[in-house]
């Protein structure tokens, strides 16, 4: 039998070497999988490193994936602190994209205010989409896992309806796309990349700002109490629903911002939902968890996940491995990191 004995005062460095050990373990397991797929693991890893972190074009890919993950992840750290299991970031992202598209295509805003308006609109739309779940949870006790999950599908069909109907582009030969956004509704990107720097900047600012907010104000405390023990919160004079509503606006709003970034920075139009987000909303849950609920730490965990995703691309392209190798690779690494958490604060003891 394995037993875990808590370490009274775990040294600070322990988290680092435990995490490293978990990564090494995952790389060995994944390496065996590569071997089984007929690929030399060392070749695979060196290709992944070369294609992600060794030059600017590799980093640009990491950042392109990391930016939406960062924004959504930051928002989700708040949701987790409040025990609000938001697995609907995917839908909130789509709502952000829809709002941005609507503003870019159909409002006569002057160029200077266009992009800011798109970000504000996207954040509001994403936030309101999450607010539905928060409202149903606090007022009617409807479980937010169910609501957020179901609302993902509703958002998907809402977007398809729009680009298949009233918002269908005039210059797309009847395909299901909107028209291209005007130039001034397209985000400036880092040179030679598809990384919209305003989105990235927003992510960094939001991470710093929220961390500060959680540390300095009573906001973080209220959030935790309202989530973990609503009764106690009410007793302490905290309005649980108002705390949760604010949290929902932030978590959904951040996902909405990510949606704005994707359509204004990369696609420049609205398109099939599965092409806008291939699971960022779900992957970001893991980003937020790896950051242990700290928005600031998302600045590390989001790029880390970006490396895993972009690295998977390299495997697919340079080594001609099937696309599912990315899922297996990220699955193994995540499982291993998640499993390692206990070793940070506990020692292992064998026997009774």
């Amino acid at each position: 039998m394995i037993r875990f004995v808590p370490i009274a005062d775990p040294p600070r460095g322990r988290v680092i070497w435990v995490t490293l050990a978990a990564l090494v373990f995952a790389l060995v397991v994944a390496g065996l999988i590569f071997l089984a797929a007929g690929t030399n693991p060392f070749e695979a890893y060196s290709a992944m490193l070369q294609g992600t972190v060794s030059d600017w074009s590799g980093w640009s890919e990491v950042l392109r994936r990391g930016t939406p993950l960062l924004l959504i992840g930051i928002g989700l750290t708040l949701a987790f602190r409040a025990q609000f299991f938001n697995i609907g970031a995917e839908g909130q992202l789509l709502l952000g994209a829809i709002a941005a598209g609507g503003i870019a295509l159909f409002t006569p805003l002057p160029p200077l205010v266009m992009l800011p308006a798109m970000f504000v609109g996207g954040a509001l739309a994403g936030g309101l989409w999450a607010l539905i779940a928060a409202f149903l949870k606090t007022r009617l006790r409807v479980n937010e896992i169910l609501t957020t999950l179901m609302l993902n599908y509703v958002a998907t069909y809402l977007l398809i309806y729009l680009i298949n109907g009233p918002w269908k582009g005039k210059n797309v030969r009847g395909f299901i796309y909107s028209d291209d956004f005007p130039d001034f509704a397209q985000l400036p990107t880092l040179p030679g990349t598809q990384v919209g720097w305003p989105t990235l900047l927003l992510g960094v600012l939001l991470a710093v700002g929220l961390q500060w907010f959680l540390g300095r104000s009573t906001g973080g405390y209220e959030l935790r109490v309202a989530g973990e023990n609503p009764e106690a919160a009410r007793y302490a004079g905290i309005s649980v629903s108002s705390v949760l509503f604010k949290m929902a606006m932030v978590t959904g709003g951040a996902a909405g911002l990510a949606g704005v970034g994707e359509v204004a920075g990369i696609h420049h139009k609205l398109l099939e939902p599965s092409q806008i987000s291939s699971g960022y909303g779900f992957t970001a849950v893991i980003v937020a968890w790896l950051a242990r609920g700290n928005p600031l730490l998302c600045l590390i965990t989001a790029p880390l996940m970006g490396i895993i995703l972009a690295g998977g691309d390299v495997l697919k392209i340079n080594l001609n491995l099937p696309f599912r190798i990315t899922d297996v690779f990220s699955g193994v690494i995540l499982m291993s990191l998640i499993a390692s958490e206990i070793f940070v604060k506990n020692r292992v003891k064998w026997g009774k």
């Binding site: 409807v142 169910l146 179901m150 968890w289 099937p322 297996v328 958490e341």
Partner: protein, 291 residues
């Protein structure tokens, strides 16, 4: 009348995998463990079931019965990984389940490449699965409420500390419940690849595992209600196509209808205070001496 009967038949055909998977998840959640990896386990079950039933493609080289066993084993094994990580290593159940989804879909996709593009002939009849699922729901409902073992399972999910004091092995019971949930998710996958399609394609579960996760909440962790929940969803899923084109309402509205109605129904249940409550200790690992 024919039309009604036909709609009901479709609701049962489509609802069967949902019922199987959500029954499994009801059991592991009643024991206090959430497993969001249903989609991944379902994909593994679908592949394992098809691979064993198909054999090398020649008649008689595969076995349907063994395929079903393999599917349940595949789902169960995947679930045991989740159990080890969340029960023994006490990691966050939500994140572990999400990772399991990734891993399950990925492994099934990789291993399943060589089975793509082949049909299965001599597929089993749907009814043993459908009737079996309904009977299982009835049995589980009885078992949970009226037997000592069922009470034990529930106590582990409601108040593990008290169960521990009574001398129950909380973690072992949870392991069993999670494995049971995985086996049923695998069986649901086998239904898809052996009965409903019947063949294997990467991505063929197409989100049904997630629907099962939502149904568990929708039916208030109650196996009896799970029958109605999955038939209800199956009916709406079929009707989105049957009703398409009968009105000027856009097709996308009907496509969104099943998901919207699930929320609306649960909200109404909430208004009248009729929702089932989640098990008290759901999502929390158990450590002796902590509360």
């Amino acid at each position: 009348m024919d039309e009604l009967l036909n709609a009901l038949l479709r609701a049962l055909a489509f609802g069967t995998p949902l019922l199987l998977a959500s029954l499994g998840a009801v059991i592991n959640e009643r024991a206090g463990v959430v497993n969001l990896g249903v989609e991944g386990m379902m994909a593994l079950g679908a592949l394992a079931g098809f691979a064993v039933a198909y054999g090398d493609g020649s008649p008689g080289s595969g076995s349907i019965a063994l395929g079903i066993v393999a599917a349940m084993a595949a789902g169960g094994l995947a679930a045991l990984l989740h159990a080890f990580i969340t029960i023994t290593l006490r990691a966050n159940q939500f994140v572990s389940g999400l990772s399991l989804t990734l891993l399950g879909l990925g492994v099934a996709g990789l291993l399943g490449k060589k089975y793509e593009g082949f049909p299965l002939f001599g597929q089993p009849n749907q009814w043993p699965f459908t009737i079996g699922a309904i009977v299982l729901a009835l049995l589980l409902a009885f078992w949970l409420t009226s037997t000592r073992a069922g009470l034990t399972l529930r106590s582990v999910g409601e108040n593990p500390a008290a169960a521990d004091v009574l001398g129950l092995n909380v973690n072992l019971i949870r392991y069993g419940a999670v494995a049971f949930g995985g086996a049923l998710a695998g069986l649901a996958g086998a239904y898809l690849s052996l009965v409903y399609r019947p063949s294997w394609t990467d991505g063929m579960t197409a989100g049904l595992g997630w629907i099962a996760v939502a149904l568990v909440i929708f039916v208030g962790w109650n196996p009896l209600r799970a029958i109605f929940g999955s038939v209800f969803f199956g009916l709406l899923y079929y009707l989105q196509f049957r009703l398409q084109g009968k009105t000027f309402i856009p097709t996308e509205f009907f496509a969104a209808m099943p998901y919207l109605l699930v929320i609306v129904v649960l909200a109404f249940a909430g208004l009248r205070g009729q929702q089932g409550a989640a098990p008290e200790a759901l999502g929390r690992p158990y450590t002796r001496g902590e509360r």
